[in-house]
Amino acid sequence: MSALVRMRVAGFARTGRSLAPLLAGLVVIGILYGGGQARPAEAYGVSAVVLFPVLAWQTKLLLDTEPDVQRHLARVIDRREWLAGLAAAALAGLVPVALALVLPWLIGGVKLGQGDSLPGALAVGLWTHGLALPAAVALGALASRAVTRSAGYGVAVLVSGMTWALVLGLKSSPAPWLAPPVMPVARAVTGAVQGGQVAVLSVWGAGWAVAGLACYAYLRRTRP
């Protein structure tokens, strides 16, 4: 399956399509850190929120790059072609995430406060983005052409999912559990995060991602 993953990533990287989400990611990171220095934990929380739509969009673009018939050929070679696509999207998503973690330090967008440490700050960054990435991959996959079968429906699913995640994640949301916890995580890291809170948010994020990815896997059974 790893060969199919490499093929998907190579195909995506070779097309101009991979540049658009990468540039969008750089722009939002630039805007985020352009206004002055912030404490890294807070900044990483917001960074995960703004990258969530970019990562979902990038996933849809990556999965849609391969022609339908080539996807069918891959399915004949390996039944887990759908899983290879998800793995490729997750791998590609690591690039904007790595930029989001590293760039703020290079451009002076973050500053360690009293009691902060660089390893601790990076751990928070890995946690916030690590929760956003699988959920974004799941949303992008559910919006991909293989599932939605048309460009219009694909965009509708993607935009609805992004809006859903952000609106239901607001503090006053009546049903925050129906969305991945990117917004609650961003709020949590503004203060001292407790161990129990980390566990709850992690299970919540993992559960949402597993549900979304399982839904994608189920739909792909009859949508090659």
Partner: protein
């Protein structure tokens, strides 16, 4: 032995049935030709057998582990050269990336190895489609209109490839609406009509012969064929 057990298929719950209760078997070393007019479901049947499409009802059983499928149109809109593409497919098949070399040589596309797939002619792209299906010797080879777009020399290679795969114990399933399967005299006939499959040929399933005549002779040729009891489907410029 590959078996299709009461296979039904429709695209979506509201759609009509494309395949209805298809039951058939294909033994190792056996070659079968799927015949039928355009749009009767030949490609759909082949995709079900290949594992691309999942039957709405029924099942395909004992499908060989290695399936080579040549789609009717090779998806050439990909950002790879021939070499890069076949290298990726070889790796996905668990073969060394060099495994494609013998097929590019044999199919006469060695000179195109550095050419990007979108820049290939339809016939050359179709040869890449053949090569990707053969990189690892398939236990089941499925060819969807393999003669479409191929030049005369390569058209002659197709029966050779089919015989090789069958001789090595692989089953082969081929669709054809051009009458090219006269090149495969020992092949069994599967006829598709109205979603039903008849194994062993069918008197009700007509063959289509495409002929070319001069513009001035077209009306007379069509009239003569009709007079002999044949059905003329279309008369007009190519």
């Amino acid at each position: 032995m590959l078996r299709l057990d009461d296979v039904w298929l429709r695209y979506g719950r509201g759609g009509g049935w494309v395949l209805r209760g298809v039951t058939a078997a294909l033994a190792p070393g056996e070659v079968a030709v799927v015949l039928g007019l355009n749009g009767v479901g030949k490609s759909t049947l082949l995709q079900v057998v290949a594992g691309v499409l999942r039957p709405s009802r029924g099942a395909v059983r004992e499908r060989p582990a290695v399936v080579g499928w040549v789609p009717e149109r090779f998806p050439a809109d990909q950002p790879f050269t021939v070499d890069q593409y076949l290298g990726h497919i070889a790796a996905a098949r668990g073969e060394p990336r060099s495994a494609a070399a013998q097929w590019t040589e044999r199919l006469g596309i060695a000179g195109y190895r550095g050419v990007r797939l979108p820049d290939l002619s339809k016939g050359t792209a179709q040869k890449v489609g053949l090569a990707q299906a053969l990189i690892r010797r398939p236990g089941l080879l499925i060819l969807d209109e393999p003669w479409e777009g191929l030049d005369a020399a390569t058209r002659d290679i197709v029966p050779e490839l089919v015989a090789e795969v069958a001789g090595a114990g692989g089953a082969v399933l081929i669709s054809d609406h051009r009458g090219e399967t006269a090149r495969l005299p020992g092949a069994a006939q599967w006829s598709v009509q109205d979603g039903h499959l008849t194994v062993g040929g069918s008197a009700e399933a007509p063959w289509v012969i495409e002929i070319s005549v001069g513009a001035g002779d077209a009306v007379e040729a069509a009239a003569r064929l009709r007079a002999e009891g044949h059905t003329v489907l279309r008369v007009g410029p190519r």
